[in-house]
Structure formats: C-alpha cells, structure tokens
C-alpha cells in the first residue's frame, strides 16, 4: 500500500537548488532512510513529507494522513516541568519497560531542562512510540544517543514495521541494514 507518492520533486532555498526531480513511493511496513551530507536537504525533504512545507509533488494517502507522529530537531516538550508531567499533559501513558530500556526511569520526576541532550532525545522518541500512530517521521533519531540506546531504538523501529507501521527518517549516522534508502547526494 502506497502511503506517499512523490513525483518530480524540486526544492530551492534562496536560489540554491537543494534537490531536483526526485521521485519515490513510500509504502507501509517499511523503513525509509533519507541519507545525505550536511545541507543536502534531508530535514527539508522530511518536512515536505510531513506536510510542513506544502508541495504539489507529494500525494499522501488519506488513510495514513491522520496517524502520523513527527519528531524534528526539537523535542516538543515543555522545559519547566518534569518528564512525567510532560507525558501527563499530553495524555500519554508511560510504559515502564520502555522507560527502563531507555534508561529514563530514574529521570521521570526531573525537570526536563535538567536532562542531557541524549536523555531529552530518548524521551522525545518515547513520546512518538506512546502516541501509537502508524507512520513515524523522525529527523536524526540517533543523534546524541549512546550505543546501547541506538540498539534499543533500532529494535523498536523493527518492531513497529512488523506491526504494519511505516518509518521515514533522516539519518547521517550508522546505516540501517533493513531500510530503503533515499539518497540526496551521489557521493553518500
């Protein structure tokens, strides 16, 4: 089942062509990995797919349109309240096992601004998981994570795909073995 159809997509910022004539389909039950060097337009392409930047070259499937979780460069949490309170005000459940796997159990009652970059990132990934949506759009989900957390995230990504979900992510770190690649630079 095709979730997003991208045909002849071009994008230009201030006269600089980021990418041109890109076409691909995104199907359910797969991981799509957008790869490219810094400034190649990975985040921009994700924003186009997520609908933040409107484009006529993108046709999203109506069925999956309302079941999307997006994680950009920023985490989306309120800094002045605790991790637990952040989850509570969003009405999301806190899976004890997942929090344990991500090493965040002991930080539940810490103010969000007191967490490290990697901990904040893991918390933001937990929000995506707890939202229970079919499509995950993730911008650099492995950034700032330690080796153990990267393994845990990879496992969760695989589980989501097995549960008929779809993941589109921008990544310039280690390559995922099971993903379909969307390359934005020839020399990647």
């Amino acid at each position: 089942m095709v979730l997003y159809k991208v045909t002849n997509l071009d994008y230009e910022i201030d006269g600089r062509m980021l990418f041109s004539d890109i076409s691909f389909d995104i199907k359910a039950e797969s991981i799509y990995e957008i790869r490219g060097v810094n400034g190649s337009g990975k985040s921009t392409l994700l924003k186009i797919i997520a609908g933040l930047i409107p484009s006529d070259s993108l046709i999203p499937s109506e069925e999956f349109k309302n079941s999307v979780s997006y994680l950009g460069h920023k985490n989306g949490f309120v800094e002045e309240i605790t991790l637990r309170e952040n989850f509570n005000i969003l009405g999301l459940s806190m899976d004890k096992k997942l929090f344990e796997n991500f090493g965040l159990n002991k930080f539940k009652n810490q103010k969000f601004f007191n967490l490290s970059y990697g901990e904040k990132r893991k918390a933001a990934l937990l929000r995506v998981i707890a939202a229970n949506t079919k499509t995950w759009i993730l911008d650099e989900p492995f950034a700032g994570l330690d080796e153990e957390s990267v393994k845990a995230v990879k496992k969760i990504l695989d589980q989501h795909v097995q549960n008929h979900g779809c993941i589109i992510l921008a990544n310039h770190q280690e390559i995922l073995a099971t993903s379909n690649k969307i390359l934005l630079e020839k020399n990647v």
């Binding site: 920023k74 309170e85 009405g91």
Partner: protein, 204 residues
C-alpha cells in the same frame, strides 16, 4: 480537542507564573494609577490601560515556548489544524487569567453601576478581543523575538478603542456593545485564521 484542553490547563496549573504574572502586572499598574491619584472618572480608563499593557506584555510569549520547543511544528504535522490548540489556549486564559482580572478591575472600580452585568460582559469581551489581536502580533514576531513587530497591529485596534471609550467613559452601552461583539467575532474568527496561517509559515 480534549487533549488540547488538558495540555493548556495543565500548563497553567503546573507553571503558576502563568496566572500570577499577568495578575501582578495588572495590579501593579492599577496601584501606580492609584498612587498618582487620578480623577475618579478615570477609573475605567485606568483599567483599560492596565489591561492593554498587561495583555500586550503577556501575549508576547503566547507561542514563543511552543515554537522554540518544536511543539507547534509537531502539532502541524500530526493534526494539521491548530484551531483546537488556539481555542484551548484562549479558554484556559479566559477562565484562569481574564475572569480574575475582570473581578479585580470591578473590585477597584466598584460594583455600583446601573448596567453592571453589561459592563462586566463588555469588559470580558474587551479583554478577549485584545488577547486575539496581540496574539497576532506575537505570531508575527515569533521568529525574530522582537515585540516591536507586535506593535504593527495597533492600528487595527483604533475602532476598538473608540468603542471601549464610548462604553466605559461615555456610558453609551447600546449600540456600542453590539459593535464590540462584532469586533470580538471578527477577531475570534478572522484574526485566529490569520494566526494559524502565520504559524504555518513560521514553522516551515
């Protein structure tokens, strides 16, 4: 809708400065007018000026944190519309900030007017309209964090100021209250629509 209400009310309760900061600013400005010993007929003018400055100051940060943390970006991708988000923000502020502010204003001005209910209603409508207009300024200035941009919307408030003057100073409640209601409906619909479009552009 329920999720947005839970978040906005939750945030106001969890971060108490969201309530006491506007009420303190409002109270302090009133106190200044009191110490300056303004003429009694100017009490409504004082409360209007106090409300105007308070809402201008607090609305500067209406969207600032949600924009900086990426919450608005997430919201746009996941729900497509910000209508319920804006409505929840308004409702939380109306109940926990603007109603107490109205009570405070009438406690100082006195409850002995012949058209008390109409005046209280007009006051709440006035605060709500100011809130929507200044939120537009806040959305415009969100990226550059420059509240001077928010001042650009003040010319839009000139008819509103004339109506408020007619109601509270001249005491001509009708038909000015009806016109004020029309202005409120305009701000609740068109201005909020403009805010959503601006937030979408700013989040690109």
């Amino acid at each position: 809708m329920f999720k947005d209400l839970r978040r906005e009310f939750g945030l106001i309760f969890l971060i108490p400065k969201n309530i006491y900061l506007p009420l303190s600013i409002f109270g302090i400005i009133f106190l200044i007018f009191f110490l300056l010993d303004f003429d009694e007929s100017l009490t409504y003018v004082s409360s209007f000026i106090a409300s105007f400055i308070t809402i201008f100051i607090i609305s500067e940060s209406t969207f600032k944190d949600d924009y900086a943390t990426g919450y608005i970006e997430q919201k746009l991708c996941e729900t497509e519309s910000l209508i319920f988000y804006l409505f929840a923000k308004y409702l939380a502020n109306l109940i926990l900030v603007y109603l107490p502010m109205t009570l405070l204003a009438f406690l100082i001005n006195g409850f002995n007017d012949n058209y008390l209910l109409e005046l209280i209603f007009a006051y709440i409508v006035m605060l709500s309209t100011l809130y929507f207009f200044f939120n537009l300024g806040s959305a415009i200035s969100i990226k550059r964090n420059n509240s001077l941009n928010a001042l650009l919307i003040i010319p839009l408030l000139i008819p509103f100021i004339i109506l408020v003057e007619e109601i509270f100073i001249a005491g001509k409640i009708m038909p000015n209250l009806n016109f004020l209601m029309a202005y409120f409906i305009f701000s609740a619909t068109f201005i909020n629509y403009a805010i959503i479009q601006i937030l979408k552009i700013q989040s690109k």
